[in-house]
């Protein structure tokens, strides 16, 4: 099943977990301090983030280190990029319309000048 990335990130606490991981690998206990909720809550959010593909876990001896996985974020970025492209094209037309008006205005001006 493909999990909706927006739904996963809609939870503000989960976004705090993601923010806390931006600086690099963290253990659950480090995250408890930063995110400000109980350890069981942090673990639950990490599990949901892992299932959705946003977070990876790496065992290091006794420790479990969590970090961000870039792929899902790239997908979000690619999704947004489509809308960016639509708007780039729109503003291209805006620029073209502007130039057309400017040329028209300049032509009118020079005609008026000729008439003087």
């Amino acid at each position: 099943m493909h999990i909706d990335p927006f739904e996963t990130l809609a939870d503000p606490t989960r976004r705090r977990v993601v923010d806390a991981l931006r600086g690099g690998e963290r253990q659950v206990n480090d995250l408890v301090a930063v995110v400000g909720i109980h350890q069981s809550g942090v673990s639950r959010h990490l599990r949901i983030l892992s299932e959705a593909g946003f977070v990876a876990m790496r065992p290091d001896g006794q420790r479990r280190l969590y970090s961000l996985k870039p792929d899902r974020f790239r997908e979000l970025d690619a999704w947004l990029a489509q809308y960016r492209m639509l708007w780039e094209a729109r503003l291209d037309r805006f620029g073209a319309a502007l130039e057309a008006r400017q040329q028209q205005r300049n032509a009118q001006r020079s005609m008026e000048d000729d008439g003087d």
Binding site: A10, L91, F94, L98, Q102
Partner: protein, 162 residues
């Protein structure tokens, strides 16, 4: 619940060699708006554009090429779509906010979409225009809407034998 809503936004900016009045006119006059608005292969036909705070904007989005017309017909969508919005902020030559009601997507509940346009005059006859697009998504319903939308498409597929 406020915490379940996420606002997604997209910022896009350009710098134009123009007077800010010219840029403003492209957003707030019938001629100006019609000269560029709309996705590729569509044109806007403005019915009313009230250039004042809270002023209404009503226009039709019209499929403008044979390809666009064919594509809309194939989707079972009208080739001309009434759109309405209002200038929820209107500060001439500084800031414009256009809020539109998106109520025409099949299977998607109506929602507000807004774009904020900021104009920053630069030295040497240039103006920087920054467009910020935002939409409020209701996260749990987004998933449901998508299902509604998918089933709607499946219905259309059946109807048109795609």
């Amino acid at each position: 619940m406020a915490t379940d809503r996420i606002e997604s936004s997209l910022v896009i900016e350009r710098t134009y060699r123009a007077d800010v009045e010219e840029l403003w006119a492209l957003w707030t006059t019938k001629d100006g708006f019609e000269s560029w608005w709309g996705p590729d292969q569509f044109r806007a036909e403005v019915h009313s554009i009230e250039a004042r705070p809270g002023g209404a904007l009503r226009y039709d989005m019209v499929a403008d090429t044979p390809e666009a017309i064919a594509a809309m017909e194939q989707m079972g969508a009208p080739t001309s779509q009434p759109c309405r919005g209002s200038f929820t902020e209107f500060r001439p030559y500084e800031r414009l906010v256009l809020t539109q009601l998106i109520d025409f997507l099949p299977g998607v509940e109506a929602y507000d979409s807004s774009m904020t346009v900021d104009f920053f005059p630069l030295a040497a006859g240039e103006v920087r225009m920054v467009v910020t697009l935002s939409q409020m998504h209701d996260a749990p319903t987004t998933a449901m809407q998508r299902e509604g939308f998918t089933s709607q498409l499946a219905k259309l597929d059946r109807r048109y034998g795609a």
